[in-house]
Symmetry: C2
Subunit: 357 residues, 2 copies
């Protein structure tokens, strides 16, 4: 049972191609597990700029708010790079995060046994890596005030952004992270720069204060520079990482690249109560757009996260993840994860293999 409304935002570049595959998989899951999905498409990013002049039209945001979940492809491309920064496609992402209150960004970096060889790291270092980065997404430098570029009294100008967190903001992301760690291997590493930054000292104090509520979770702390090192040196030491917005942007991309296959990595952005947003970690890849070469697996795995987190259809989520495993075991690969002896397929053909699986 259950009827759900999904806002579909294909965006730019390969976004439209991979979202098609993702939607087909969600539809198949709904049929198989007997619930109903109603998809409504809306423009975002460059496509929305071309259509309306705005990267995130008000109607798109309204439609997202009225949905149970948002399924996004990717935004951006060279043709919009010259626009003033508040009119660029990426602003749509920030607008969605703020507009939907999506304060928790879940970014798993798991290396699939079939893809160990794709990593730049030695197999013995990356085998078994399974990290979840919980990134705060609506605070810190991205949104802090004051911000801007101001003239200086003595001549010249000054650029300013503010890394600012309240105890409330730290507590709520901390809870998401402790809960996530509890559902995984029970280890949470909070990453900050408390040896230099006051905002990190408050961060650490608040996270430490939550720990007694989660006695089953082992909490550790690490400085962000050391974490950037340790991710390369010994990534298996990490289970769940929680950190603020800017550090999370950097570390989650580093962790993603450890796997060697960012075409494989999904993400979820969650708020409290409203719809969640699900999108692949990779970008819109304008260089291969429209050529049926894109890897749809990150989009499909984002669909699995949507089923699990927003629709609470965890069996359906598992079935989708299983299908991804199966096509990889059958040897199907898109160009970005090509390996000797693999069957190289395009985006559409990969979609067909997935549906069959």
């Amino acid at each position: 049972g259950g009827r759900y409304k999904i806002a579909v935002l294909p965006g730019d570049g390969i976004g439209t191609e991979i979202v098609q595959v993702g939607v087909a998989m969600l539809e198949a899951a709904a049929r198989r597990f007997d619930f109903a999905l109603h998809f409504e498409e809306a423009p975002i990013g460059g496509a929305a700029i071309d259509a309306t002049g705005e990267p995130l039209p008000a109607a798109t945001l309204e439609q997202c708010k009225a949905s149970d979940a948002v399924f996004l492809g990717a935004v951006g491309g060279p043709q919009w790079d010259a626009l003033p920064s508040d009119k660029r496609p990426e602003k749509a992402l920030l607008g969605l995060r703020a507009g939907l209150g999506l304060f928790a960004n879940l970014r798993p970096a798991r290396i699939l046994p079939q893809l160990v060889a794709a990593s730049a790291l030695k197999p013995e270092v990356v085998e078994g890596v399974d990290i979840l980065v919980v990134r705060e997404l609506t605070g810190g430098l991205y949104f802090g005030i004051p911000k801007g570029i101001f003239p200086e009294k003595k001549g010249g100008r000054r650029g300013v952004n503010t890394m600012s967190y309240s105890t409330f903001e730290i507590e709520r992301i901390g809870r998401v992270a402790f809960e996530a760690a509890r559902g995984r291997r029970g280890k949470l590493c909070s990453v900050d720069k408390a040896n230099v930054l006051e905002v990190s000292q408050l961060w650490r104090e608040v996270i430490v204060g939550l720990a007694p509520e989660y006695p089953d979770v082992e909490l550790t702390h690490m400085y962000v520079d050391n974490c950037a090192m340790q991710l390369v040196r010994q990534p298996r030491q990490f289970d769940t990482i929680v950190t603020e917005n800017m550090f999370g942007d950097i570390l989650s991309d580093e962790a993603a690249m450890l796997t060697g296959s960012i075409g494989m990595l999904p993400s979820a952005s969650l708020g409290s109560g409203g719809p969640g947003l699900y999108e692949p970690v990779h970008g819109s890849a304008p260089d291969i757009a429209g050529q049926d070469k894109a890897n749809p697996l990150a989009q499909v795995l984002s669909g699995a996260m949507l089923l699990r987190h927003s629709l609470r259809q965890s069996e359906a989520a598992q079935a989708v993840e299983k299908a991804v495993q199966t096509v990889l075991e059958q040897g199907y690969r898109t160009g970005d994860i090509a390996a000797p002896g693999a069957h190289i397929v395009g985006c559409r053909a990969m979609g067909e293999r997935l549906l069959a699986a």
Copy 2:
């Protein structure tokens, strides 16, 4: 000829052991290339806290100011971790940077052919990596105002730090980076987050404005999250990287770890006119302190940077670097860079091999 005054700050942990080797090598270089060095020791970090209650006593800073260069070991250790943050050993580093106006931090990450196997990355990915990170060191989040932890009107508290840069600060670090790139392979990558941060937009604008003065340098730009990825994916694409303080802290440590041997990596921190500061990238390693196990090579290579940048004794610098190459070719290794078939030696014995070389 030439007479130079060097302030020697051994600090904590292995700092005292490795600085001894470093000083011996500088003395040998002075004898061989016919200049005179006068060393004066001063306390810093935990050692200074124990002696005076302050991590950076005023007398130490004064002595540094009156020197031609500062030669630092490492600071910190568990026995000082419980102190309030403004009394911790690390504060001495921030105090030295601010007090000496050391705005340019040069952090080379070069992989020596003899140590390729030490990296967590595949040999074919790291072979030949030779990156210089030019990190701004006296601005950004580390020093920006306002900063602190403040009560909120509606209850709770708020932690705040400010990422702030003036055109003047960006220009002067930009020039150091362009000059450095010119002396290397002529490629400069400026790393920022201009798709989100206003301070990065000003950063990029000012760096772009300098480019016409350096037509022989090829300038590119990269977002910090992408840079964290690309360092893992294809580190050889980078020559010189320039970035702000916090990003530089994270990326230079990541770049250092690519080499797999942070016990090998030196650094220089330079101001305009005054003495430069030279120290290894690694920390004080309290776990192996006092056991004659430390790797002195990063300290010795920091000495080579001191000879080159502050004393303009580039022949002497080369001789020191050559000696490091020689002992590695002879198969001598400390425990941290142990390899099958190597002669494992302690810190003192490594120092003797270096002097012989």
